[in-house]
């Protein structure tokens, strides 16, 4: 900073500074130009993608779930629109305060609050979570008038699943529930993730689960341009959702009601099949539950009540519980005898009231025996001795070999999820079942018990019903099915569930006829006679009693055993005898003898099916049958007699 300078020097210096400033500006602008080039040319593609990602949002359009109808078009599951009160947590300052304030306008009970808390944990913050579902019009009006006080709270119309029949057929229809983590995994495994974007609910049991794909439909998608707030500004394209297909069942809901009513308070199961097609006419499991409880998420109290009940109402006994078939196994054994040639229909044995094997006595129920017993009589009076001998002659491999094609011990493939396999005992099965070598060995005495449907035998009601259907329709094994048509709601196209038999058994019609004649006489003069007294049609049947508890050596007296230890009562039946349109298996847990509680239920169901006669009262127990004690309890005395 020299002090004395000429104006020219000053000017020159100033101009140099201007030049420096100009160069700085030029360099800086060059830097900007380079930055623009980098962003707009070098990384253009990247940013273009980012801009597109920003811009386009995909909004799923959730399809309407298909309805479920019975064979006559009666609605079993449907959707209805209802208002829900929903809260978007991220937009609410104090949740508790808001809910308290809301509860002054609409009813919000403790259960709603608990469910809200639970859903809140599962949801993402920006999603709206329902606090109250199914508001009535008055509640909606009250809320709308005060809406300004509740930012982040809104009323939305949503579709709900409704099961108008309540408990009736609940084990068949099943229920839907909110998609949980496990469902999510299953959806991912199926590769169906995209289709469930936006869906809240999924089938959890019954047909709602097994026909989930058909019922759910195809999720549509709306391509929308969204702004920075995520709000849709403009719809660019729209692929509408495809409504789920309706299911038309083979089930007759009226018959189902009759069946369920016939059980009264008793526990048990009934499976009625049309033997001509394998279509399930009724499938009951008692006690049942109300599927409506599950739709919005079941409350803990309701859940505990269902889950902790000793009666296990959630258990589908018709397809999952396997019981020894007792004497209902005898017609099949008889058929095995004829088919294998071990017996002819006319061959008779002398029944002393017991069968001796390896130093043990296998007892008949009738003290002193039934005298001379041929195949026909063996079924009509349910003679154990005949079948002890027969089992011994057939051998366990022979029995298992004949029974397996009838479907015993394997899943029938019914279109309801959760079917059990049951147990068709055989040496191979025993080897697989037990670990210790001594347990794995098959004993001859065990074959004898199997012959009368006791021992390791365990079949589900649906297996028994389907096996019966097979022997009354001439040997065709069908896959039992509850759904008759899957109806495309858009096109109205009806896809039939195949009634083709999965196999045809090589059983001679004469042999089938012999067994069936005997079964008809069971209901005329045998163990089923009282239950079918006065029937204007002829029906075939067979009682059975599944042993629950082995009373070692002592005589079985129902009254002295605690109810839960009483034998299970079985009855299988078909009608009309000439051209059967229904074949059914009834099981009443701890119902005592087959004739006692199961047969009257079968009678009511067949009456309704053939005559349309309806009795809403539970089938009364046949007290005399109980006294008669005319059924099998042989397994009780499988101990060596002294």
């Amino acid at each position: 900073m020299t002090e004395f300078r000429t104006p020219e020097e000053e000017l020159g210096r100033f101009r140099r500074r201007v030049l420096v400033a100009g160069i700085v500006a030029l360099v800086c602008f060059g830097l900007l130009a380079a930055r623009f080039y980098y962003l707009q040319v070098v990384r253009h593609d990247y940013f273009l993608t980012r801009a597109e990602d920003n811009r386009i949002g995909l909004v799923p359009i959730v399809p309407t779930r298909g309805a479920i109808l019975d064979r006559n078009g009666v609605t079993l599951a449907r959707n209805f629109a209802a208002y829900t009160l929903e809260i978007t947590p991220s937009q609410v300052a104090d949740l508790d305060e808001t809910i308290d304030a809301l509860s002054e306008i609409v009813t919000i009970d403790a259960r709603d609050r608990r469910r809200f808390r639970k859903l809140l944990e599962e949801s993402r913050n920006f999603e709206s979570v329902p606090i109250r579902t199914r508001l009535d019009d008055a509640e909606v009006a009250r809320f709308v008038a005060r809406r300004y006080r509740f930012p982040g709270v809104e009323v939305q119309a949503r579709l709900f699943r409704d099961y108008p029949q309540g408990e009736v057929a609940s084990h068949v229809i099943g229920y839907i529930g909110r998609i949980n983590l496990r469902d999510q995994e299953r959806i991912e495994e199926r590769g169906d993730t995209a289709n469930y974007r936006g869906s809240d609910h999924i089938g959890k049991s019954g047909l709602e689960l097994s026909y989930e794909t058909e019922l759910h439909g195809v999720t549509g998608v709306e391509q929308v341009e969204v702004n920075a707030g995520g709000r849709a500004v403009r719809v660019m394209s729209r692929t509408p959702a495809t409504t789920g297909s309706d299911l038309e069942l083979t089930l007759d809901i009226e018959l189902q009601k009759v069946a369920e009513a016939a059980f009264g308070d008793r526990r048990g199961a009934l499976v009625a099949i049309d033997p001509r097609t394998g279509g399930v006419l009724a499938l009951a499991s008692k006690p049942a539950f109300d599927p409506n409880l599950f739709v919005d998420g079941i409350s803990t109290a309701d859940w505990n009540e269902l889950n902790d009940s000793p009666d296990h109402p959630l258990l589908n006994r018709a397809i999952f519980s396997a019981y020894p078939p007792g004497s209902t196994f005898k017609p099949f054994m008889a058929l095995a005898a004829l088919t294998t040639g071990k017996r002819t229909a006319n061959q008779a044995i002398a029944d002393p009231g017991y069968f001796s094997f390896a130093g043990r006595r296998f007892m008949d129920d009738k003290v002193g025996g039934h005298g001379m017993v041929d195949l026909h009589k063996s079924i009509v009076v349910s003679c154990n001795t005949y079948y002890y001998q027969l089992a011994n002659d057939l051998g366990i491999e022979g029995i298992a070999g004949f029974m397996a094609p009838l479907g015993f011990g394997s899943r029938t493939g019914i279109d309801i999820p959760g079917e059990a396999e049951g147990v068709l005992p055989s040496p191979a099965w025993k080897r697989g079942r037990f670990k210790k070598p001594e347990q794995q060995r098959w004993y001859g005495g065990e074959t004898i018990s199997v012959g009368i449907g006791q021992g390791y035998n365990a079949y589900t009601p649906v297996q028994l019903a389907n096996a019966l259907a097979t022997i009354v329709n001439g040997g065709q094994v069908f896959r039992p099915h509850v759904v008759r048509h899957v109806i495309d709601t858009a096109s109205g196209e009806r896809r039939a569930i195949q009634p083709e038999p999965i196999r045809q058994l090589a059983i001679k019609p004469a042999h089938l006829a012999a067994v069936r004649e005997a079964m008809v006489d069971v209901n005329k003069s045998g163990t089923g006679a009282r239950a079918f007294a006065g029937a204007p049609y002829s029906a075939g049947g067979k009682t059975g009693t599944a042993q629950v508890y082995s009373l070692k050596g002592s005589k079985y007296v129902a009254g002295r055993v605690r109810e839960r230890l009483r034998d299970h009562s079985w009855f299988i039946a078909y009608a009309p005898a000439e051209n059967p349109t229904i074949a059914l298996a009834v099981l009443v847990e701890n119902g005592g003898f087959g004739a006692q509680s199961a047969a009257p239920i079968a009678r009511q169901v067949i009456d309704y099916h053939l005559l349309g006669a309806r009795l809403d009262a539970p089938a009364r127990e046949d007290a005399e049958a109980a006294e008669a004690e005319d059924d099998t309890h042989a397994g009780h005395d499988a101990e060596p007699t002294p």
């Binding site: 900073m1 002090e3 400033a21 962003l39 707009q40 940013f47 920003n54």
Partner: protein
């Protein structure tokens, strides 16, 4: 001398005379950009932009008509008034968005810091003019003090952006007045090393617990956001990220006028004000951006030429400073929206929406015109 007769033509010539055609042409181009971009970014503001532009052009014309001496004579009162107003703002100003920047004077709210953008270089140019031939270290110290007072007053509002702009405006005068390189270079070096350190050690410095002492938390936040916008993708970082996306997705030729998706779907924040450059870059691409850069460069070139040819020390300093202010606005704005400078509230000169800024900048153009004209008059 005969009494000039009333003639519309003569009146028009008289009105046009103070206007420098080159500066005006460049200003027209820039205002043209403003209208084109506003039509895309916020068409409902076109009318009020028209009004703003009218007022700004009137201010320019008035300033252009005044001889530089008259302008410089306003320096001291303007500066004094500005400082007093700033004190008033700090004492009882209106608070908005956490900063106290406005003073309600009944009819309108004024932002005294804006006045300072013009008053500051005027004041210093006037001061150096007074000391012409005796400019030594003492004079630079005084000039520094004159600069420091308003800058400090604006800084406490707090308004980092404006205080830096005012500081820059004053610094340019001091720089052109001949402040020794021995003083400039070390300070610049410290600055470069400081910025380098922030960039280099950004990760550590931006940890939540680290207190930066000099800067407020939000200012630290801005710097850190610049270093890594993804740290705050929905807050401050959102602006930078979305703006960079807008610019980058524009490509070479842009998406076309009013076709910018970032702009029209509200991803761009403040798209009609500070971020209007992103609209340009998105819709007109690199080509549009470079044309704008070129327009600014020509404007700077014209300003520097005027400065270099200015008749007196004060007019030189003033012209140089004003030109550098234009540069600073343009560079800082485009630098911040393209993600190489922190986000500070600096408008894109002549294009961003905002009446005060437009009037101030056009006043600057008017002053340049006045200086240019005084040179012509002096020659003649």
């Amino acid at each position: 001398m005969t009494e000039p007769r009333f003639s519309p033509l003569r009146l028009l010539v008289a009105a046009i005379r103070p206007i420098d055609p080159i500066l005006f042409g460049l200003l027209a181009v820039l205002l043209g950009y403003a209208f084109v971009l506003m039509h895309s970014a916020s068409p409902e503001r076109i009318a009020s932009l028209l009004v703003n532009a009218g007022v700004a052009l009137a201010a320019m014309w008035l300033a252009a008509r005044l001889p530089p001496q008259r302008l410089l004579s306003l320096a001291l009162p303007l500066y004094a008034a500005g400082v007093l107003l700033l004190i008033a703002v700090d004492l009882f100003g209106e608070t908005s968005k956490g900063a106290t920047r406005w003073l309600d004077i009944g009819i309108t709210r004024i932002q005294p810091s804006e006045i300072m953008k013009i008053a500051m270089p005027l004041m210093l140019a006037w001061y150096f003019q007074q000391r012409e031939g005796h400019i030594r270290l003492r004079e630079f110290v005084v000039a520094g003090a004159l600069l420091a007072v308003p800058v400090a007053l604006i800084l406490v509002q707090p308004d980092l952006g404006t205080s830096l702009l005012v500081a820059a405006a004053g610094f340019y005068v001091i720089f052109f007045a001949g402040l020794s390189w021995k003083l400039i270079v070390p300070v610049a070096l410290v600055g470069v090393v400081g910025i380098g350190a922030i960039v280099g050690f950004g990760d550590q410095l931006c940890q939540p617990g680290v207190d930066w002492q000099v800067l407020r938390e939000y200012q630290k936040h801005r710097v850190c956001t610049l270093l890594d916008p993804t740290q705050d993708p929905l807050g401050r970082g959102f602006h930078i990220i979305q703006s960079t996306i807008a610019i980058g997705s524009g490509g070479l030729l842009g998406k076309g006028w009013t076709e910018g998706t970032q702009t029209h779907l509200a991803f761009l924040p403040e798209r009609h004000t500070d971020f209007i450059f992103s609209v340009l870059a998105e819709e007109f691409g690199l080509l549009g951006a470079l044309l704008l850069l070129a327009s600014y460069l020509l404007l700077l070139l014209r300003g520097f030429v005027i400065a270099a040819q200015a008749p007196s020390l004060a007019t030189r300093l003033l012209a140089g400073s004003i030109t550098m202010i234009f540069f600073t606005y343009a560079f800082v704005n485009m630098g911040m929206v393209s993600g190489i400078l922190p986000v500070v509230g600096v408008p894109l000169p002549f294009i961003s929406y905002g009446g005060t800024a437009l009037v101030t900048l056009c006043l600057g153009i008017g002053i340049l015109m006045s200086i240019q004209r005084s040179r012509v008059l002096a020659k003649g």
